[in-house]
């Protein structure tokens, strides 16, 4: 099958790959580049475990073709901690007991990050709405919502 060159930035680093046409971004990130933080829970756009941020937008990487990402700026949960210091969202998920099996966690954190980038002081409803595309089968929704609210407060304190 024909391979196409794809070049994008992943968590600040340049990447260039030859990818089989039709490969999803999820598979390209995981199998080609080795960033396994986005998870494949359904490969059909229903669980949110594969969520990543592309040019500031929340995207399902299982429904995004890698070849459409030329020149894009892609962020995943693997690149969130800076210099070994956890991002406030990661800290809050840790402290609020918002992970159980952890499989939904990277996707949840991506969805929450896009929310906080746009709405630094979200209401509970905003959080529920922002996470509505992400399934947690371990049913830890309440601690997850609390974690996002805590992270938002921590953010606004640092900003103040």
């Amino acid at each position: 099958m024909a391979k196409v060159p794809v070049q994008f930035t992943l968590n600040g680093s340049e990447n260039a790959e030859f990818i089989e046409s039709g490969t999803t971004l999820l598979n390209a990130l995981r199998d080609k580049i080795g960033d396994t933080s986005p998870k494949g829970g359904c490969h059909q756009g229903t669980c949110g475990a594969c969520s990543v941020i592309i040019d500031g937008e929340l995207k399902l990487s299982c429904l995004t073709l890698a070849e459409t990402c030329n020149g894009a700026d892609i962020k995943t949960t693997a690149g969130l901690a800076e210099g070994g210091v956890l991002h406030p969202l990661q800290r809050a998920f840790l402290d609020a007991f918002a992970t159980q099996c952890g499989f939904c966690t990277p996707g949840m954190i991506m969805a929450a990050k896009v929310l906080l980038d746009r709405t630094p002081n979200p209401s509970r409803e905003d959080v529920v709405d922002a996470l509505s595309g992400n399934i947690c089968r371990c049913t830890g929704y309440e601690p997850i919502i609390q974690a996002v609210l805590v992270a938002a407060r921590a953010n606004s304190r640092t900003a103040a």
Binding site: R30, D31, G34, D35, T36, S37, P38, K39, G40, G41, C42, H43, Q44, T46, C47, A49, T76, T77, A78, L80, A81, L86, L89, Q90, F93, L94, D95, F97, T99, Q100, C101, G102, F103, C104, T105, P106, I109, I135, C136, R137, C138
Partner: protein, 455 residues
């Protein structure tokens, strides 16, 4: 909520100091940074992908299998059928002598449920494996199927599983697990009221966010490393060793990180065939359920039917309880004979009843094999029992919580399956529940204790 440490003071020396304290989870740092390594995060150069050809019928004889077109499909490396599996017939609990072996790794001559694995295709890409699987031709002779437990138990019902010879699991006690305690008919004769009700549940899928699967890598020394999300490492290793007729020392299992299990990942389903694929091709193999397979193929919680007949006195005492439980194993045993047996021990509930009669059947039907899920064998039973308790309380015009105090088991009471009650703490839990839920009960119940004086 009050923590009654005193109740367990004589049985626990540790002071229960951790209870109520926040403690960080050891695996959370990996989860929040995306560093936790699930089995599918292992990727090996040259890894093959395994896809199953599955039965489209609930019950059918296999007349012939033609894999020639699939083998020619670009990217296909190997196609496996029943004859490639060294010991193709197995049952998980054979490790604890619960037989007979009744399930095939790849169907041999017959399929017994819709979705049963028939042929395994190994190819360079997932897509090639999928396309080639669609080219396997299986000629089926469709057989009558049975989906209802009571139908399956009737004489003349289609026989689901020849390895059992009848549509129920044969326990050493006969066609069902039996508990006999006191004289249940005498109890009914003495009762002021009798209430018989039937409760039914459907199969329930665990739906973990991470689907079932494994990645197998052949090592240089003729060993195989299997990265898996099984919840039952050693069950899986030992069963794989039997199925592959390979000493356990050749198998290295790496796991413990499970993206949600809930009991759905205790069956030995993906590992043996993936290891076999790796052995026969000399290449790493990945076998991961699609979301559709997870929902349709992986074992659900068994459908159950529970018929409860109780004899109760006007003063609130239950004097007789007769329960008939049915567990729908589907086409194969997996963990269901054990689940049905657990039900037999459980059905009196946490109550002391002088006359008890219990029969629990593990029934075979042409449905998806069921297996473990969170308290399997007792969870549906508890739903039935507690709904029944509420109905009984209503029948005699008694507060449902006070009714439970009257019947609660207490330390020293003999249970129907002849285990003496120890550390019951049920009275204490209900007292605390009464306070927490603001559901007051009469003072005499608040003064009760699970300890019987002089017991």
């Amino acid at each position: 909520m009050e923590l009654r440490k005193d109740y367990f003071a004589d049985v626990r020396k540790d002071g229960l100091n951790e209870i109520g304290q926040p403690r960080p989870r050891l695996d959370s740092p990996g989860h929040v940074t995306g560093k936790t390594a699930y089995f599918a995060d292992r990727n090996f150069p040259g890894m093959l992908h395994l896809k199953m050809v599955r039965s489209p019928h609930h019950h059918a004889r296999i007349r012939s299998i033609d894999t020639s077109e699939a083998e020619k499909h670009p990217g296909v490396v190997r196609v496996l059928t029943a004859k490639d599996v060294p010991h193709n017939i197995y049952t998980i609990l054979i490790l604890i002598q619960v037989g007979p072996e009744d399930e095939t790794v790849l169907a041999d001559g017959k399929v017994r449920w819709k979705g049963e694995a028939v042929v395994a295709v190994l190819a360079e890409t997932e897509r090639a494996a999928q396309e080639a699987a669609a080219k396997v031709k299986v000629d089926y002779e469709v057989l009558p199927a049975v989906f209802d437990m009571e139908e399956a138990l009737k004489p003349g019902a289609p026989l689901v599983n020849e390895y059992h010879g009848q549509n129920y699991y044969l326990y050493d006690s006969g066609e069902c697990r039996k508990v006999r305690f006191g004289d249940v008919e005498a109890g009914f004769a003495q009762a002021d009221h009798i209430l018989e009700q039937s409760y039914q549940s459907s199969p329930i899928e665990h739906a973990p966010t991470e689907t079932t699967g494994c990645v197998v890598a052949p090592e240089g020394n003729d060993r195989f490393t299997c990265y898996t999300n099984t919840q039952a490492m050693f069950f899986t290793l030992d069963n794989a060793s039997i199925i592959l007729q390979m000493p356990g020392s050749k198998l290295h299992f790496v796991g413990g990180t499970v993206g949600g299990g809930f009991g759905g990942k205790v069956d030995v389903i993906v590992e043996p065939i993936a290891i076999l694929g790796a052995k026969l091709t000399g290449r790493p193999v990945s076998f991961v359920y699609s979301r559709e397979e997870e929902m349709q193929i992986s074992s659900p919680r068994a459908a159950e039917k529970v018929v409860i007949k109780d004899g109760v006195m006007k003063d609130g005492r239950i004097v007789a309880r007769k329960v008939t439980g049915y567990t729908d194993a589907g086409a194969y045993s997996r963990h269901s004979p054990y689940g049905a047996q657990k039900g037999a021990a459980h059905y009196p509930g946490p109550y002391t009843i002088p006359n008890v009669w219990i029969d629990t059947y593990c029934v075979y039907t042409n449905r998806t094999p069921s297996s473990a899920m969170r308290g399997f064998g007792v969870t549906i039973g508890d739903f039935a029992l507690e709904v029944q308790m509420d109905k009984l309380a209503r029948l005699i015009g008694m507060d449902p919580l006070e009714f439970r105090f009257i019947n609660a088991y207490r330390d020293g009471d003999m249970k129907a399956h002849r285990q003496p009650t120890e550390g019951a703490a049920l009275i204490e839990c209900m007292q605390e529940a009464s306070r927490a839920a603001n559901w007051p009960v009469a003072e005499k119940y608040m003064a009760m204790s699970s300890y019987r004086k002089g017991a």
